[in-house]
Amino acid sequence: MSTATDDVREDAPPKPTKQQRRAANIADEASGGIKVLLVKLVGLGIVDALALYAVFVLAMHEQWLVLGLVAVVTVIVNWIYFSRKKLPAKYLTPGVIFLVVFQVFVLGYTAYIAFTNYGTGHNGSKEQAVSSLMASSLERVPDSPTYGVTVVERAGELGLLVTDPEGEALVGTNEEPLHEASGAEFDGDLAVSAEGWTSLKFADVLARTDEVTALAVPYSEDPNDGAIRTPDGSKGYLYTSTLEYDAEAGTMTDLETGTVYSDTGVGAFTAENGDELLPGWQITIGFDNFVRAVTDTRLAGPLVYVTLWTFAFALISVASTFFLGLFLAITFNDMRMRGRKGYRVLMILPYAIPSFLSALVWAGMMNKSFGFINQVLLGGAEVPWLTDPTLAKVSIIIVNLWLGFPYMFLVCTGALQSIPEELQEAATVDGAKPWAIFRLIKLPLLLVSVAPLLIASFAFNFNNFNTIYMLTDGGPRDANAPIPVGFTDILITMVYKVAFTGENRDYGLASAYSIIIFIVVAVISIIAFRRTKSLEELN
């Protein structure tokens, strides 16, 4: 998009001559003045400074690919704004950068995650998994010497300043193995401070006891050497892992039981009997998530009923809101009637209230034991509006009708009023009955203009997260499913719950479900664009 050529005006016929362009540039400069130039320089200066900072940070973390991208984008941005030409690009670049990163890239990234085992227990690299496994199985070495320690801090990260029995000062953090501390100062035998580190006072150590006791500073680069931990912030002991990592063979050995866990390519160390050591690490697993979603019977069942309900919910929502809206539009489209405007404003109100609030209020009113509907309208009945699998679906449809009918009412009123009055008069003169006029003349004309909106409304309701989540939270919960899914979940709420609720977050499976939604949405879009020819109309 930003590979624009130059500033060719809409009604400037073929191409402006060189002179004209030069004249335009001169005019531009003359009009811009020093203020515009200053704003531009300051703006670009801020952008460049931020980019430089980002490059610096990325270099520290050795993120070379991202660093390269940031550098290239910064250079391009500078080039665009300092260039005399590239006018369209100057206007498009800011929006396009956000669009590419937070809309296009994340869609592609979702597709990638769908092919990985990313989730709880498979969060990082293999190295991280090894060090985390070793750290979680630490046990104090029975005859460990006592190390004097001082808790130190650098840039918010806690570390230990350790004085070993020979009196040498070493420093390290959870991530950074012990190494010689430069500029250590001693109080007696104990190193109390080191260059570049802030020593914590006793009161701070007490306040952060949890963090301090969780510290495990690796003794050396080799994880099998163990780590120094301190139970009190003043004395440290050597802890070694009950697991032994053999980097050559890529195996973990449990020293107590002698079980050998090896990397069998499933993203975790696995014993011969299939036991896995968790955390594992992240790998790409091909179509496993998709295969699991449709072949695992405990997952396939929910997927089928969730997909069916998603379609049913979207279709019924569109149909119910449209027909109610159309009926109301016809009813109130009679100019003999008084007070139409009053009715209209009052009926539009549900549409003006944020839908998350409306759904929460409806959830309260539909509460089985205490809700307004059961207690007052039905005189103390115990209708399980939101807790019965079937009735909950009916409730959702009713609430979504409440939320959506004003919109359709507005749309249909507009469409009806744009139908010329002469058509009705001509039909009446020809002897047509009112119902025939409506069915054969008005409705087809109305559908032509409203159809694209109905398709859009379907696409919206297909992903209508708020109504479902705030009203029933997808419940009642399906107890047989291994994932947190309920009988009124639609696909998007299922994605959310699989990825972000419950004990096990399964990003891979959730993304695989997202891909299913992508496909459906893509099909809807194709139909919509075919139907409305809106892409052809673009010019």
Partner: protein, 341 residues
Amino acid sequence: MAARKVKPGSVPGPGVVAPTGVGLAVAEMEEMDASTRAHASVGGPGGGSPVELPKRPFNFSRWFWATGWRHVVGVIMVVFALFPIMFVVSSSLNPHGTLTGSNALFSQIGLDSYVRILTDPQVPFTTWFGNTLIIAGITAVCTVFLGALAAYSFSRMRFTGRRFGLISIVVVQMFPQLLAVVAIFLLMSSIGDLFPAIGLNTHVGLIMVYLGGALGVNTYLMYGFFNTVPASIDEAAKLDGAGHARIFFTIILRLVAPILAVVALLSFIASVNEFVVASVLLVDTEKQTLAVGLTKLVSNPRYADWSAFSAGAVMAALPVVALFLFLQKYIVGGLTAGAVK
């Protein structure tokens, strides 16, 4: 609710030639108001049809079948539309807390619940409110700015890739960001590892994610409106020596002010209503928005203060409803009608 829909199609509507249902709804409202006014002046204060002679004796049956039944429908629909609103207003005025206690409508009136929700140390309602206003406000302003820049270039310039750009905007907007919520979460958490100031659990990060959708339906809406501003205005300015930046900032932006207001309000409302991304990115209670905070509040089974929640809901809804009703009147249209003469 439906105003935040993605609208692919285009409907021939009066006023704003907008491809979206939003634009349509707005345009239609305007038209309806106009027609109501026209009828009122034609039909006189009685509003009766000219066909009916004033001196004919009143016939209930004929009146009922002509317009009476419409009032019946109207009353039923108004009751349906308003009773949840009545309920929440009533329970917000109820000094007692529970859901059961809220069932007797307007039995007791008091502002205790409002005081409770505003002062409860466990529920940082005012912080949520402030967060929501800040996030939605900044997002709205930036969305309008980014969208207007893009719409201006699409509307006023001809360049290679222009059609491709327009089509990609229409296509990309079909895939709402919430579909990629998992990837957004992982992206923001890795950004947060490197740059904590804009990563997970920051307002800046959330706003940036929202801005990813800035060049979507909004740009398209503005593009349509920009096209209705005659190009001869730019030409005249250019002849007078104005550069493209000056034309854009001092002339075009003022002429398209109504659509900027509409887009800003729609973007504001959409951000206020957004739950999925906000709930995933904002971890700390203090950082959350109203949508996240209030939803988590009532979904907690131990939270029993329904009337305090109602008070919060009323306060949260008021600015949005006010903006929405304001939006109806704002579009007067025809701003450029007399500009070129």
